[in-house]
């Protein structure tokens, strides 16, 4: 074997890499091909050894991740993601293809997970134990939470020494962009090892205190392998560890370091992973910026930049942008010259992106965002075979099912839940969360026993395919709440319409996913701000207010929701008057429903402890007034606005009558007037209004008799629609009023003593008939009588 530095016989071949570095991956493959080791040792949790053969399975497709989780606490977990271009994955596959044993040599996850548990002082633990070390440059500083001291970012130091301000770029230039197959396969590793040795001499463990223990474990495993295979041992590990693994240390000293480590019962499995989660944007603190670009670098046999720009051109063409091969040629030239200007050996992603922007996208960043999303990050989803051990989500679900005494049964049954009880509430939350995850074990059903907000009825049926769904949902998290939260957040970002997001917010509240709410709310607020269609906003508001009320019943904190609801209402207020102008009949009718919905929602919002409540109501009334007074607004909306104001007590009956008289005067086209009437007295309670206010009734009556014959046939359908919606009783009373003749309401107008709108004089006999019932209701003593008088008609 021909390492750059002469290796003593029996010394292991140490291949220092950067995790997820395509250049490292190529180099590892070349080095393994060249040296043909008899065993490959890989940095990774030792208990995952039994899972290694699965990596060769037919339907195992990277990106995948090794997932270790505490058996009793599935939420405590750690991931080791591996993409096709990860050096570890390449080493693993090489070993399996060549029938060479492969082993994981890092400290077992049973200890690392236990460490985490012991550190339970609340600092954010994102489980990714490996992030902080070696190759990943960004993580060094940020992952400080895991360690006592400030960590050294080894690549940052090297890049700084070389005069680079960005460590990623330095690594790309020096390592990743090296073409394959040039010169000695082991030379890059030797050079890197020398650099790392110098660094470790300066910085020691660099603040990565636990690395010493992990390295001790790795050394022991390497030694074990050496006893077995003598000099055919290759090790693939983070470049940072190489000097420590090279050093000779006593077995006893290493054993001593590993003594008495805490333990927790741990299970390991493979889970599918995605490029999006490999990328930084995916929310896992550490990762790589451009998994799609790296995958391309790794997969492209040659001319990576040309191939990349051709790919980009293909994508843009698919999106209907005209991109010719001429564009690609110019983009390649620009990228290469740009790289030269910037002093880089080869164009990198930055140069390629600049070239795409200037040549193919006409300087615009909009199509670039698409390129970034589809290609630079990419939509690659990994797969694992069915034979992998159960995912922790499944265990968590089973545990929860046991705890809540909810057996999964194939037969359908109905379940009534009382949300005031703890068990009932928890069961409801579980079912709602599962629905969010697409595991439709329970479906909400119409309750038979009343419709209180504290009751829920579910129809439960466990079908075998739900197990598959559970396994699929495993990508979202290791416990039901965590997975549902992640899924809800992803759904919110991907949601198309405003209404979808509001529905999701409602769902989050039902499922008590408080952690997901901020994201959902932010998306909701953003969507609301950018939506120019008032109808959408008006549709969203009721659902949101409903959610607020659910939240109240379930004792969740809804301050954020109230804030968003108030903001949404404000936007509706601003947008509504212009949106109501010049609508045709159908659109006006739809808008009337929106106005009603907003009105109802604001009423409910009044009950909730929402911010700015009083002011909102006042502003809504101003909007209604504007609507009622604007001539360009269709009659049905104006009538509705007047009616709502009247119901609110904002408009005196006299004023309402005046407005009605105005509309029903001969100057208004009959069709418009009929629409106004529909808006005003249509819907629930409208008939009663006419029954009780004879003045309004008289106005309608007089107008109707004055409608010219030819116009009458036009307004008739409208009026019929309005009046046929009333209860039969109301219709009959109205009919009686009409039959009584018009004489009565002339007197009504001149009545002095009557309540405005009511007929003069009181039918004493009928009034007296009420009194016994009132007395019965209000109490047997004499007091009841006086009260009865006050409540009832005035004598």
């Amino acid at each position: 074997m021909n390492g750059g530095r002469s290796r003593d016989a029996g010394e292991p071949l140490l291949l220092g890499v950067r995790h997820h570095g395509p250049g490292s991956a190529r180099a590892v493959r070349a080095a393994l091909e060249a040296s043909r080791p008899r065993v490959v040792l890989i940095e990774g949790p030792s208990e995952a050894d039994p899972l290694i053969p699965l990596a060769a399975a037919e339907d195992m497709r990277p990106p995948v991740a090794l997932l270790a989780h505490a058996v009793d606490e599935p939420g405590r977990s750690a991931f080791w993601p591996l993409a096709a271009f990860s050096p570890e994955w390449v080493a693993l596959r090489w070993a399996l293809e060549h029938g060479v044993p492969a082993r994981f040599i890092d400290l077992p996850a049973t200890h690392t997970l236990a460490w985490e548990r012991d550190e339970e002082d609340g600092e954010e633990e994102d489980g990714e134990d490996r992030d902080g070390e070696d190759g990943r440059t960004d993580a060094g500083a940020e992952q400080g939470a895991l360690d006592e001291d400030v960590r050294v970012d080894p690549l940052g130091v090297l890049a700084g020494t070389a005069g680079y301000d960005d460590a990623e770029r330095w690594w790309e230039d020096v390592v990743e962009h090296r073409g394959a197959g040039k010169g000695d396969a082991l030379a890059p590793f030797t050079a890197l090892e020398e650099a790392m040795t110098a660094l470790r001499e300066t910085y020691g463990s660099g603040g990565h205190g636990r690395d010493l223990i992990r390295e001790a474990h790795m050394r022991l495993r390497i030694r074990e392998a050496q006893r077995e295979f003598e000099d055919g041992v290759a090790v693939v590990c983070g470049a940072w560890h190489v000097p420590a693994l090279r050093r000779r240390r006593g077995v006893t000293a290493d054993r001593a370091l590993l003594k008495g480590l805490p333990k927790v019962r741990t299970d390991v499995t493979w889970v599918p992973w995605t490029h999006r989660r490999l990328s930084r944007a995916g929310g896992y603190g550490a990762g790589i910026d451009a998994p799609g670009w790296y995958a391309h670098l790794f997969a492209a046999p040659d001319r990576p930049v040309e191939r990349w720009l051709t790919k980009v051109a293909g994508l843009l063409r698919a999106e209907d942008r005209t991109v010719s091969p001429g564009h690609v040629i110019e983009a390649v030239r620009l990228a290469e010259t740009l790289a030269a200007l910037r002093g880089r050996p080869l164009p990198g992603l930055g140069e390629a992106t600049d070239a795409v922007r200037a040549v193919m996208c006409e300087g615009s960043d909009v199509p670039l965002a698409l390129v970034r999303d589809r290609l630079v990050v990419g939509d690659v989803l990994g797969e694992v075979p069915d034979t992998v051990p159960a995912v922790p989500l499944q265990r968590d679900l089973e545990r929860t099912q046991r705890r809540l005494r909810l057996r999964p049964e194939a037969a359908e049954r109905e379940l009534d839940l009382d949300l005031r009880e703890e068990t009932g509430a928890e069961r409801s939350r579980l079912l709602h969360r599962l629905r969010l995850l697409g595991i439709d074990w329970g479906r909400p059903a119409v309750s038979r026993s009343g419709t209180g907000t504290f009751r829920e009825t579910w129809r439960l049926r466990w079908e075998p395919e739900l197990a598959v769904r559970t396994a699929e949902a495993g990508v979202w998290g290791t416990t039901v709440p965590a997975a549902a939260t992640a899924k809800a957040e992803a759904d919110a970002v991907a949601a198309r319409g405003l209404a979808d997001v509001t529905a999701l917010a409602e769902h989050c509240l039902l499922a008590a996913l408080h952690d997901a709410l901020p994201v959902v709310m932010r998306v909701l607020a953003d969507r609301a701000a950018l939506d120019t269609d008032v109808a959408h906003l008006a549709q969203a508001l009721p659902a949101l207010v409903r959610s607020l009320r659910y939240g109240d019943v379930r004792g969740t904190d809804t301050a954020a929701l109230a804030e968003v609801a108030a903001g949404l209402a404000e936007r509706v207020f601003v947008g509504l008057p212009p949106a109501c102008a010049g609508l045709d009949a159908d659109a006006a009718e739809e808008m009337r429903r929106h106005v009603d919905a907003v009105h109802g929602a604001l009423g409910l919002l009044g009950d909730a402890p929402a911010a700015r409540d009083g002011r909102l109501r006042a502003r809504w009334r101003t909007v209604l007034r504007t609507l009622s007074a604007r001539d360009t607004v269709p009659g049905v909306l104006r009538g509705r606005a007047v009616r709502l104001l009247l119901d609110e007590g904002e408009l005196a009956q006299d004023e309402a009558a005046r407005l009605m008289g105005l509309v029903l005067s001969p100057g208004t086209p009959p069709a418009d007037a009929a629409a106004w009437i529909e808006g005003f007295v249509g819907g629930s309670g409208g008939g009663l209004l006419l029954v009780h206010d004879e003045r309004l009734f008289g106005l309608v009556d007089r107008w109707l008799t004055a409608v010219p014959a030819e116009a009458f046939t036009d307004v008739l359908p409208l009026l019929r629609r309005t009046f046929s919606a009333y209860d039969p009783g109301v219709r009959r009373t109205l009919g009686e009023l009409v039959r009584r003749g018009p004489g009565r309401h002339d007197r009504a107008d001149t009545a002095v003593a009557g309540v405005p709108g009511f007929g003069p004089g009181v039918d004493e006999a009928r009034a007296d008939a009420v009194l016994p019932v009132l007395r019965l209701l209000l109490g047997p003593d004499g007091d009841g009588e006086t009260r009865g008088e006050r409540v009832g008609v005035r004598r």
Partner: protein
């Protein structure tokens, strides 16, 4: 600070005023060309530039980038930054010229398009005067060639009777030509550039001759990407350009700085009385413009709709100048919210239907809640009533 914000339409030659600290060469001309004003720097760069230069370039691409971005040469000569903004913009622009592609600089008014193009031409060719000013009346002769009719009549068609355009001269001499405000030029005249850019020849059918571009010829065009009444480039022409969009000032501070400086200069030339303490109001105008332009509040927490207007830095300057005039002539000499409110409203609400909703939403959801902005809120409501 070289991001200038002077409206190009006033006088293109003056766009991008020479910053006071760059030591403009003292001559009798009101404003010397870039290659004269910065002759020392160009000479120093040329003297120490040992990198390969494309044919007929005065400097290597690296030196051109340094000239625009600023830096210190090995012998200690300090090169002042001509363009303050993303490095990427200048690098892509220089590279485009080096790869023999035409460069199109896009941006809203006040993003230093003309300034960058002039300095690029000065650094690359040592000559920024081969300029075609684009207007609605720019004829084809301005881009191709014209005739000296006296000679034409006297001696018949010949090369002597031909009046070359700046573009033709640039082709013949291997220099950089500049076309200002490309999108204002009528579409059919624009398209006469296509042959020049793709075939690098300019046929003269009258003489049966042609002018072939010499190595080193290139073209820099500037255009306003959000202006109204522009003649959209045909896709055939667009294909022949690499496009670089010059961004608006990145930070509010930079923008406030530009606005303040330009307002001062304008105020002096209009003989407005000096108005103290206008900075707060300027900051407010800039904040409103930036927020509406970006569709995002300054704290990054609330998204907003954007109005149809450009809301460029140049417009902010004119709003503030207008406000100053109001304050000086009709107010108490202090720039107040009421003085700028009407101007802001006018700049934002360009489309009476859609923009008004945008503006009202902004007022009600953002301005009203903001601490210390109640006077501005009231003033805007009054102005909008």
């Amino acid at each position: 600070m070289s991001v200038s914000a002077e409206p190009t339409s006033v006088d293109p030659r003056r766009n991008g005023s020479v910053p006071a600290d760059t030591g403009a060469a003292r001559t009798d001309t009101l404003r010397p060309h870039a290659e004269h004003a910065f002759a020392d720097e160009l000479a120093a760069l040329a003297a120490q530039d040992d990198r390969p230069r494309p044919a007929r370039w005065r400097l290597s691409p690296w030196a051109v980038a340094t000239y625009l971005l600023g830096g210190t040469l090995p012998d200690g000569t300090v090169i002042t930054p001509k363009y303050v903004g993303p490095r990427r913009v200048v690098e892509v622009a220089v590279t485009t010229l080096a790869t023999d592609r035409a460069l199109l600089l896009l941006g809203v008014p006040g993003t230093a398009k003309t300034w960058v193009s002039e300095h690029l031409a000065a650094a690359v060719s040592g000559d920024s005067t081969l300029l075609v000013q684009g207007t609605a009346g720019t004829p084809e002769e301005a881009i191709r060639y014209g005739w000296n009719y006296a000679r034409l009549l006297a001696h018949g068609p010949s090369r002597d009777a031909l009046v070359p355009s700046p573009v033709m001269r640039a082709m013949a001499e291997g220099r950089t030509a500049r076309v200002e405000e490309l999108t204002r030029i009528p579409a059919d005249v624009q398209d006469s550039l296509i042959t020049i850019l793709s075939e690098k020849t300019l046929p003269i059918p009258e003489l049966g001759q042609e002018v072939q571009a010499v190595r080193g010829f290139n073209l820099i065009a500037t255009a306003n990407d959000r202006d109204r009444g522009v003649n959209e480039l045909s896709s055939a022409l667009r294909r022949r350009f690499n496009t670089v969009v010059l961004p608006l000032p990145e930070t509010p501070e930079a923008e406030v700085d530009i606005v303040t400086r330009r307002v001062e200069q304008l105020g002096r030339s209009l003989d407005l009385p000096a108005v103290p303490d206008g900075v707060d109001e300027i900051r407010r105008v800039v904040t409103v413009f930036r927020e509406l332009r970006d569709g995002l509040t300054a704290d990054g927490r609330t998204k907003l709709k954007s109005p149809s207007g450009t809301l460029s830095t140049a417009e902010a300057i004119s709003v503030v100048t207008g406000g100053l005039a109001l304050a000086a002539h009709f107010g108490d000499g202090v720039l107040r919210a009421g003085d700028v409110a009407a101007g802001v409203l006018g700049a934002v609400v360009r489309d009476p239907a859609a923009d008004r909703v945008v503006w009202q939403e902004y007022l009600e959801t953002v301005v009203r809640e903001r601490d210390g902005w109640s006077d501005f809120y009231r003033a805007c409501r009054e102005a909008g009533a």
